[in-house]
Subunit: 209 residues, 2 copies
Amino acid sequence: MSNFGFFDLRLVEPYRVAMDEARSAVGAGELVASAKEFDSVGSAVADAAVVVGTTNAQGREVSRLLRRLETGARDWRNNAEPLAILFGCEKHGLGKEDISHCHTLWRIPTRGEHGSMNLGQAVAVVLYELIRDDTPIPTKPQRRAQQAELQRFEQMLADALAESGYVHSPSTMEKIRTLILRLDISQHDAAVWQGMMRQILWKLRHNRE
Amino acid sequence: MSNFGFFDLRLVEPYRVAMDEARSAVGAGELVASAKEFDSVGSAVADAAVVVGTTNAQGREVSRLLRRLETGARDWRNNAEPLAILFGCEKHGLGKEDISHCHTLWRIPTRGEHGSMNLGQAVAVVLYELIRDDTPIPTKPQRRAQQAELQRFEQMLADALAESGYVHSPSTMEKIRTLILRLDISQHDAAVWQGMMRQILWKLRHNRE
């Protein structure tokens, strides 16, 4: 929850022993410390405008409220109304009474053969879906190497190949050029490559003398 | 991993004690039992065509390889080439040597103030992103109530209000109709509502006699 910026944790009839332990644990997050407890789902969601249940929808009637998480979450991602998301206990999920409070149900698209998820992982996936954002982050584009730099590199590679006795045909130079272009080298990397090739070429020529 | 249909778990230098315990645990999944062990990242990813690292990209230089998970995963979701996804240990994440094997890096969009995730949750979120699919699932549409059914309901509500002494103005009927239309009632629910309203109306009239 904290990873994705959700801080209002509400617990309905939590298991007392586990909860007291969690609250008093060394390093217990603020989130756990400030979790509110309720004695019913109804009172826990009382101030929500929309209530969403999560379910793997197996072994029970598939409800007309059911949406796959990807599509269900789309409608609420930028909604400003208070949204409550219900998670059932790890063993049995949400019951019928819990679900009667829900405007809609979301299903994480797990495999039919392994539908039921670890609770913490299910929470992470649902909250991630709510905050995910397809807009690309601006990345500082690497400046692509200029043709002149590539040409120097091409020439050095050709020279090195010639020194090494690599079979030369009239089209070798074009092959080398195409090969190098496909590498899509940045300006920075082109300089490194040139340095390496210069050294190799020097050694080849030095050995010959 | 099993929830989302990923079965090839590879471990690089796993902590021996924990691993042996996990393998021999009662109910250890097939996935853990068949996990392969390697002594280096290089050998673990040797048969992959693409290697992706996961990082919260905090406290280190942001690499030009870095993509946010949502955008990074988009390119590989339907790619048939073998993809290796590296996760670092929970405490320190991936190191520089690990990252040098990666074609690209993905960052789960966690809050800056709480970037580092629980390992199991991070794996769940990344794999979910890879299999998520926006295409709506076909849901059996509920048949919407016919106007005639709504009109019967409208009339009964109007009658019940009249019996109850609710203030009537010439536009009351239109108000009721608009109110009911906004409910967007299904055929099934319209029948239930009519049954309830019929009973209430009966009781009102019965009390009067």
